[in-house]
Subunit: 317 residues, 2 copies
């Protein structure tokens, strides 16, 4: 039986593993596809302190080498459920189940896609789903923002301070974002609203995105926006279907400040949890806390097991 099984091999999962194995726990990372997670899709990351500019793939290979160098084991499996059996946590897979005392869920989340032409092709090369991550690459350039909810409006305001111009494209004639955000976005002189337009295609070449083709819902006419970046904010879906614990409406896992979920011995960290910010730095911070608390939990279990057999004559003075 493992002391700690970590689900997910992104920045959070690898960090949880580094902390878990250093604390002496028998640890394994279970990853569906391979080490890296969503961040491995990023072309350039410039906000993980210590690495001024690095690709997601390269950063994650540093993480992976770090973990493997201290003996962290990675296995490939798709976890389909978590069962509780006394002090045992049983992870269901298509093959053999995995038994462990604690679980750290670092399964991440994925931005929803709109499905326009070029959206997948240019992801990380002009198409982005994170203004905090990629906004600064468009300093004094024009960008398009797509979406009508709180996040879209908030990120549009955020980008308006960095980019020279923001085209805010929305298929309806009004935002569904909260009133205070709507009041704020209209104060931004460099945001042009492109109402009642759907997105047709991200235009571009080998260098990346060069424009965005949008289409009027009323007339069917298309218009090409001259932009270098396209930010799509149409929601984000956590990878949490396999676990039956407290979640918010969108499926993000609810944790306390110790990263404890509603299932004792099961922790969640990073993008898959309810959190104010989804970044590499926040995932690694969460993950360290989760692994630290998992070790305390295992230590408590051992204490309890000992109590059952009696104090064996050892007494404190």
């Amino acid at each position: 039986m493992y002391d700690c099984v970590i689900i997910g091999g992104g920045p959070g999962g690898v960090t949880a593993a580094i902390y878990a194995i250093r604390s002496g726990m028998k640890t394994v990372v279970v990853e569906k596809i391979g080490v890296g997670g969503q961040i491995a899709l990023s072309d350039i990351i410039e906000n993980y302190p210590g690495f001024p500019s690095i690709s997601g793939l390269e950063l994650m290979s540093h993480f992976e080498n770090h973990a493997k160098g201290i003996g962290v084991e990675f296995v490939s499996a798709d976890i389909t459920g978590i069962e509780v059996d006394g002090d045992k946590r049983i992870l269901k897979t298509a093959g053999e189940n995995i038994e462990t005392k604690t679980v750290v869920i670092c399964s991440g989340a994925e931005a929803k896609k709109l499905g326009f032409a070029g959206e997948e092709e240019f992801i990380g090369r002009g198409v982005s789903t994170c203004a905090t991550c990629d906004g600064p690459f468009y300093r004094n350039k024009a960008v398009a923002v797509i979406g009508g909810g709180d996040t879209a409006v908030k990120e549009s305001i955020y980008l308006s301070k960095i980019a020279s111009k923001v085209y805010h494209v929305h298929r309806r004639d009004r935002f569904r974002a909260e009133k205070v955000l709507q009041d704020r976005i209209v104060t931004k002189d460099n945001i042009e609203f492109v109402w009642k337009h759907t997105t047709e295609e991200a235009l571009g070449d080998v260098s990346g995105v060069t424009g965005l083709r949008v289409k009027s819902v009323d007339t069917g006419e298309t218009r090409d926006l001259d932009v270098d970046g396209v930010f799509v904010f149409v929601g984000i879906t956590p990878n949490t279907a396999f676990v039956d614990c407290d979640k918010d409406e969108q499926g993000f896992i609810v944790v306390n400040e110790n990263m404890e979920t509603s299932i004792p011995g099961v922790y969640a960290a990073g993008d898959c949890r309810v959190t104010p910010l989804r970044q590499v730095v926040t995932a690694v911070g969460d993950a360290a806390i989760a692994a630290f608390k998992a070790e305390e939990y295992v230590s408590e279990l051992e204490g309890r097991a000992y109590d059952k057999v009696g104090a064996q004559g050892v007494t404190l003075k």
Copy 2:
């Protein structure tokens, strides 16, 4: 006036600055002595993902170069107070005051010292105040733990899984740690309790610590413990005297999940806040959230200022 002033140039402060400046805020880091913080005193850090083994000084020079490379400004000053004047936050110094819309406090904390010979000399070379940070360097070696509170007992248990032997030195004949921890520590066969002994001296040479000299409170006799590491857990003091916000009994700043203190526009991150774990990774995660929320706050202020002058004819459809 600054948008964001960051107090402290450790891992948290530098990260807050990276996030703040990338979001377009006018930002400065105010540091008392120099960039680096407490972590710069660490000889080796092996749990900041991406850097398998690096000195604190070197890691912080990577952080500093990262921040300076994107235009972060550092100034030297000792902040002695924070005053609130409407939407202005005024930082008091011995010289000119600094005015800002938001403040991110990353002022850190310091482990208390016992004052025995060699304690300062061997810090980072055998004397440690953090088992999570330095425990793994003593795999299958003997260590001494000093202290009688919850942290000392918890960390002693933690170290007992990594080290071959733990001498737990305490000046009294019982721990003041909570009962459940006391019950747990007696189950550890490789912990030897050295009751009613004070610490005289960390013994060592150029290679670092080689032993610990302790002295019986009753007889005055000394005993040399053959250890490679000495962990001192006699408390930790946050550097928060300059700010008058909600704090816990020890002076750590109370924040919510957005890193907001009880003063609007003032955030706290890292070691100086009430937190389950004090590590580089947790400080950088906190700091990113604090800077992100500070930017939202500034954005809200601008929206409010705009409301006062009227919507200037701009309306949302």
